[in-house]
């Protein structure tokens, strides 16, 4: 069975470490916040200028002056800080954020990522995605392994305009956990019940399959 969105978020959450500053993109990455282990302190960075994003407010505490990068009303946690957009991207570009999780349309064997623009469709913009992928050392891309039409999103060369070049090393799809090494995807884990053959069939870029590919474990 392919992973649900919640399971994908749970798997990403296994990569968190105590004391991590983390930037979560829109969509599945946002769900990761729900699976931070109880015994762990993680601080969420929102690129509009907030470090220490808390949960959604109540009707009583809602405040138009306090939003996240997805423009949703939020709260702050104790120990949070707020700053300008330049400061926010200084910490992103300067490599101070420990983990960035974001979605994509395509990733290729050279660590290129395409996530913001489909030619001939309305282009809304890249927001902070190009800065995030260029600045972060540790990035996890979350996306479905193949499109609804069955087209692989793990390619030898991205076909869409790039968001960043050579910056992706880890990809979680609904089928597999993969890492990019020396111009190939390396299959590290597979979703429970998903066969190696299915992953091979749905991966267009070069794929290295070790002798043993463990199933992902969920608590």
């Amino acid at each position: 069975m392919s992973l649900t969105r919640e399971q994908m978020a749970q798997r990403v959450a296994q990569e968190l470490q105590d004391g991590f500053y983390v930037n979560l993109g829109i969509g599945i990455p946002t769900l990761v916040a729900n699976y931070v282990p109880k015994n762990m302190d993680v601080m969420l960075q929102s690129e509009n200028g907030l470090l220490g994003m808390g949960e959604f407010p109540t009707e009583e505490t809602i405040d138009a002056d306090l939003i996240n990068a997805g423009k949703q009303t939020v709260t702050t946690v104790k120990g949070a800080s707020i700053f300008s957009s330049a400061e926010s991207f200084a910490m992103i570009r300067g490599g101070h954020v420990d983990l960035t999780v974001l979605g994509a349309f395509e990733v290729d064997v050279n660590g290129n990522i395409a996530s913001w623009m489909i030619p001939n469709k309305l282009i809304k913009g890249m927001g902070g995605a190009m800065d995030l992928v260029a600045g972060a050392e540790n990035i996890i891309v979350t996306m479905t392994h193949a499109s609804k039409d069955g087209e692989s999103k793990l390619l030898s060369n991205c076909s869409l305009p790039l968001t960043g070049k050579g910056c992706i090393k880890k990809v979680l799809t609904d089928l597999a956990w993969l890492e990019i090494e020396d111009g190939a995807f390396v299959l590290k884990e597979r979703a429970p019940g998903v066969s190696v053959e299915e992953i091979i069939a749905k991966t267009q870029g070069k794929l290295i399959v070790p002798d043993h590919v463990p199933e992902m474990a969920f608590l």
Binding site: G70, S84, S85, R93, G127
Partner: protein, 234 residues
């Protein structure tokens, strides 16, 4: 003694000198911390041909979106647009030009503009459409893009409190691009919720020192919420 007093009495006075075809910097992220009354004054004034540098372009009927109604904007420099149908229509018609700029690069362009730095190198956008036509250079084995700073003829800023000397503090994430825009306008206008006497703000807590600010005007704000999200009642 009035040499540092930046307070003006009206929005009309606040926007004196804004002319057609100028470059306008605006603070705000989405609808959060936008100078909503200064934008409304520009709409009233009818200034046309503007190049507007702002992370977003408001929504239909609010924020910078209202400047599209009478086609006052010639070009937007933004990281994310298209939350408004009118924007999309004018873009497809060719009535509006857009220069998409990565959010961090946009912030740094304003910061650099205000700090007297004409250009800077960044890894953001290398190998992407953003890099087209731009000079690159390698530092320590990595490729970087040369990005030019932005200076505006006018900057419009939304603060929380200001003193009469134009020292400004922002509230929560309504800060965003505001302090950057404030530094990079040849004329910087700040609208605030409260004007206090000098000495009332802690000097160590000032976000935008008054040296960057030319005019301060007192306003009342709708503060529209773009995505109202609340947690389920417990």
């Amino acid at each position: 003694m009035a040499g540092f007093d930046k307070v003006v009495a009206s929005y009309e006075e606040a926007m004196i000198g804004l002319e057609d075809d100028m470059t306008l910097l605006a603070g705000g992220f989405g609808l959060c911390g936008i100078p909503e009354n200064l934008i409304a004054e520009i709409k009233r004034k009818g200034t046309k041909g503007l190049t507007v540098v702002s992370n977003n372009c408001g929504v239909d009927g609010f924020g910078l979106g209202i400047l599209l109604e009478d086609k006052q904007v010639r070009k937007m420099v933004s990281s994310y647009v298209g939350e408004n149908a009118l924007f999309e229509k004018q873009l497809l018609n060719g009535e509006l030009e857009v220069e998409l700029t990565p959010q961090g690069t946009l912030a740094e362009k304003m910061r650099a503009g205000g700090a007297g730095i004409p250009a800077f190198y960044t890894a953001t956008g290398v190998g992407t459409p953003v890099a087209e036509g731009k000079e690159t250079k390698e530092f320590n084995g990595r490729e970087y893009l040369l990005e030019e700073a932005i200076v505006g003829d006018f900057a419009i800023v939304k603060g929380w409190k200001a003193d009469r000397y134009g020292n400004v503090i922002y509230r929560h994430t309504a800060q965003n691009f505001n302090p950057l825009a404030a530094t990079a306008g040849k004329i910087t206008v700040v609208e605030v919720e409260e004007i206090v006497e000098i000495g009332e703000l802690d000097p160590a807590h000032i976000h935008t020192p008054g040296i960057y600010v030319d005019r301060v005007v007192l306003g009342t704000f709708e503060k529209r919420i773009e995505k109202r999200t609340v947690k389920a009642a417990e």
